[in-house]
Amino acid sequence: MRKTLWMAALLGLLAACGGNNGGGGNNGSSAPNTVAGLVTDIGTGARLSGVKVTVVGSSQTTTTDSRGEFILQNLPPGLVKVDLEKAGYAPGHGLAESTSSAQAIVVALKKEGTEQGYNPTQARTLFQRTEAGPYAVIFQPNSLNTADTNLRVVVTPLDPTKEDSALPGDLIAGGASPTPLAAVTFAEFSILDSQNRRINLKPGSSAIVELPIPPELRSRYKIGDKIHCYAYNPQTGRWEDFVEGTVERSSVDGTTPVLRASIRHFSWYGGAPAVQDQECVLVEVRNRFGPLADAVVTARPGLRAVTNRLGQAEITVEKGVPVNFTATKTYTDTFVDNHGNLIPKPGAKVIDIGRVYEDDLIGLDGKNYSRTPGPCPGSSVQLVRPAATNPLPIRVAPAPEGFFRANALLQPGGVAFMQLEKGIPNADGDLDNAEPAAGAKITISDNAGKTATLSELAPGTYFANNFDVEPGKRYTLNIDADGNGSIDGSGSAFALGNVAWSNLSNGGSYSAASLTATWSDSASAQPGYNALYQVSFQRNGGSGVSDMAFYLGSERTFQPRAQTDPPTPLAPGTYTVTLNAFCGAFSGGNLNISDNITGVGMQGQIYSIQPVNPITITLTL
């Protein structure tokens, strides 16, 4: 009997680990009609326990465990839609197929915005401000489907250039010939009554919403442009109610470019035009043993595909823009032992996750990955390419158990430098008991074929040798935080251009009444480039309201004025004038900007800073 058990275990081990030649030995066991899931916090990357998971259209529910994971079994075949609820977070939604092989739902939840009171008998504009600008909803009186006059409105903004993994469902115009949608700006609108029930618009009533265009996309979407808008329908798992919105100036602050549109149903809502310029990319999903069949690959902006027996899939993506690829492979009755081997164990669930962020498919290793213009032929049948092709590799492994935080600096004309810490995220998203994270594998690319692997100078401190950061170029980091072969987080940012004063010089004398300070940035014409400039005028020895002026914004011109009502010219005198430029995500210098390195179990910021030497000038009457 013991011999039989030993043989069975050995056979199981061989079946799970043996070979990577397409025979299926590397694929572990995977139960049919099963969906496993992992839920994290988009702000910290932390796994979220106690999230209520409900299968839409059925009574089946479960809750995420202490590792943020759940499993749903014996599902009917077809599309599985789940709703995810946790107090303090905007509603989340996920999709997977219930099919012959288990699939995974990996969803990030976003902490909800601030609650605001509202009496629905009144017309009112409510908004939530972020670094991108005010996200607003404009109510007509008596347009909500309730008699309750004590409502709470929650607007949860979402910037898809940084937080796309919190967007529900697939951003796809599906049907006979699927087309990806390119996310521009989104928010979730929740209206709650006194009994905490969700309230919506009366049938036939509408409201107007305004969603800021993310700074990174403002060069692409101009005032007057039309953008397609959609509302997410949790019942169908699709984005619906397509209408056109218009890019206009915010009615709240009068300056921020916002997408203004009509909304008929409060849910997740936003703008996402259909992607016209598409290409078909060949990807290969592998774990440490080899290619993986039945792995699910999603691309943003792009479609979804499932790998064939050689671990390959063709997937349609938007051409010429950064694309996030995420691959998941789900084992439902297999586990990984301490040596990394897949061991069959009924009841276990393992989700391998891998990500690749590519600004351009030249790739981090400088290779041109196999791709062809236009959408992939036939969405259901995945072709097996000849061996000469060069598929984009996506390496998957179990998501890290710890939480990592990255802080990366791009020094224009200098170096790339990164610190990586591991710890336990607290409610603010900071790490408690943080320790340097050693052994990470980090690569940097200029998205034009130049690439480097960062060296570890000291535990948790990484540095790119012989890699000059060029001003005005965009750089991408892909981070394998635990060094297990799969990318855990990624992000990108521009290195600042060369910033200099245009019309001010040290020792110069200017009229306080007519001075408009201007400065130049050599990278300002780059598509997607969005620097913030911080300018201060401080009269030497002065501390009154007419002795100082301050600017923070993305324009490259500033008329210094005292903060009086109405604003008046600064007092004559000698002033110290400073100019600092920032690019990417940065928390410091009175700036607090959303993270731009994201992943499962990790979060962080990549940024570039350039202080211009302070100058002294004289302002005259």
Binding site: T236, F242, G245
Partner: protein, 373 residues
């Protein structure tokens, strides 16, 4: 005689014959053409086979379509390419395209558009020649033509534009714009969102830039002179004008009504379920309203004022966001475009008043016409 033979066939063989009869080799007497805005194509659907048998690339953002009276040509308005594509029904190919407004030399800020000179854009017949997937950016360009109607003599097309409220007249023989005018706004309503011809008059629906709560206008013009004859206010977002004998029926997308307009008289209003967009005349005095936001249709009796609403569902499946519909040749079925991100051509039985079938098409599709095979 044939029927007699069939009656005495063994049941199993009879079933086999039925299967053969329903197999994909059977062809419909007509085809259904659907404009697929997301993929720059018109889908050709065989309603018997229940599938798209051909995709015709026509240009950017194809929306409204009209069939000429002899059924030989379909005109497809290319909202994103400032053009109309003429599709030959026999070959199911684009026969020609024509611009609905001139190719501009300068941008709105006054700067020269040098590529238009370098690539001789002024000789092109559709902006899609250059502004196509993989081509010049941006993909969507121009004055955004939307509405379309035939002239009384059927030799010209009238095309309305969203930008600048432009109305163009296109000679079908020369394929040239022979007359164009920016229509004066009515209050905030400056976008000419649709045009229809009612006898010797044109009816233009003017709306403010959306979203808006301000009033729109239905304007009657003399077809020959384009002089304004009369004007009446309507809901803030008129979507479509359906010509009906001496009247024009306007769908008001935001206020959930259809309004029946006659020149110089007060419109009569019919309330339907939220989001009326396209309309289809299904019998004398009866129209089908496609109600986008409510995933439903309304059968409206314009004489009695009676309105019957029907959800677009089959089993547990709901077909969302209906936009336009076309009648089958026998008048018993309405082919309805369900234009959600998961697109379907929904077959609606007008007698049973329910969905009988749904055929997958591209998401974000828009208009539909039926043509002879």
């Amino acid at each position: 005689m044939v029927w007699t033979v069939i009656r005495y066939l063994p049941p199993a063989l009879f079933g086999l014959l039925q299967l053969v009869g329903c197999s994909s080799s059977q062809q419909a007497s007509h085809l259904v053409l659907v404009s697929q805005a997301g993929s720059s194509t018109v889908a050709v659907i065989d309603p018997v086979q229940g599938r798209t048998v051909k995709r015709i690339t026509v240009g950017g953002l194809p929306h409204r379509m009209i069939l000429n009276p002899d059924g030989s040509k379909v005109y497809v308005v290319l909202v994103g390419s400032q053009a109309v594509a003429e599709v030959d029904v026999r070959s199911l190919e684009v026969f020609r395209t024509f611009l609905t407004a001139p190719v501009p030399e300068r941008r709105s800020d006054g700067t020269l558009i040098q590529p238009h000179f370098d690539q001789d854009a002024f000789s092109k017949t559709s902006c899609f020649a250059c502004h196509n997937p993989g081509g010049a950016k941006p993909f969507i360009v121009g004055e955004r033509p939307v509405g379309i109607a035939f002239s009384s003599d059927l030799n010209k097309l009238y095309v309305s534009h969203i930008r600048q409220g432009r109305l163009s007249e296109i000679d079908l023989l020369s394929a040239q714009v022979v007359r164009a005018r920016n229509l004066p706004p009515s209050g905030a309503a400056s976008e000419a969102v649709d045009v229809a011809r009612v006898g010797s008059r044109l009816v233009v629906a003017m709306r403010p830039r959306q979203p808006s709560t301000e009033a729109s206008a239905v304007r009657w013009l003399d077809e020959q002179t384009w002089q304004t004859l009369s004007e009446a206010p309507t809901g803030s977002d008129p979507a479509f004008v359906l010509p009906l004998e001496e009247n024009a029926l306007v769908s008001n997308f935001e206020s959930n009504t259809l309004s029946l307009h006659a020149p110089a008289s007060s419109p009569k209003s019919f309330t339907v379920t939220p989001g009326p967009l396209g309309m289809l005349k299904v019998a004398e005095g009866r129209v089908l309203s496609l109600n986008y936001y409510s995933n439903a249709v309304s059968l409206v009796d314009l004489v009695s004022g009676q309105v019957q609403n029907h959800q677009l569902e089959l089993g547990s499946r709901i077909f969302v966001n209906p936009t336009h519909a076309a009648l089958s040749p026998d008048g018993r079925l309405a082919y309805i475009v369900s234009s959600g991100t998961e697109g379907h051509l929904v077959v609606f039985d007008l007698e049973r008043k329910g969905v009988t079938r749904a055929i997958p098409i591209d998401g974000l599709s828009f208009d539909v016409v039926v043509v002879r095979r």
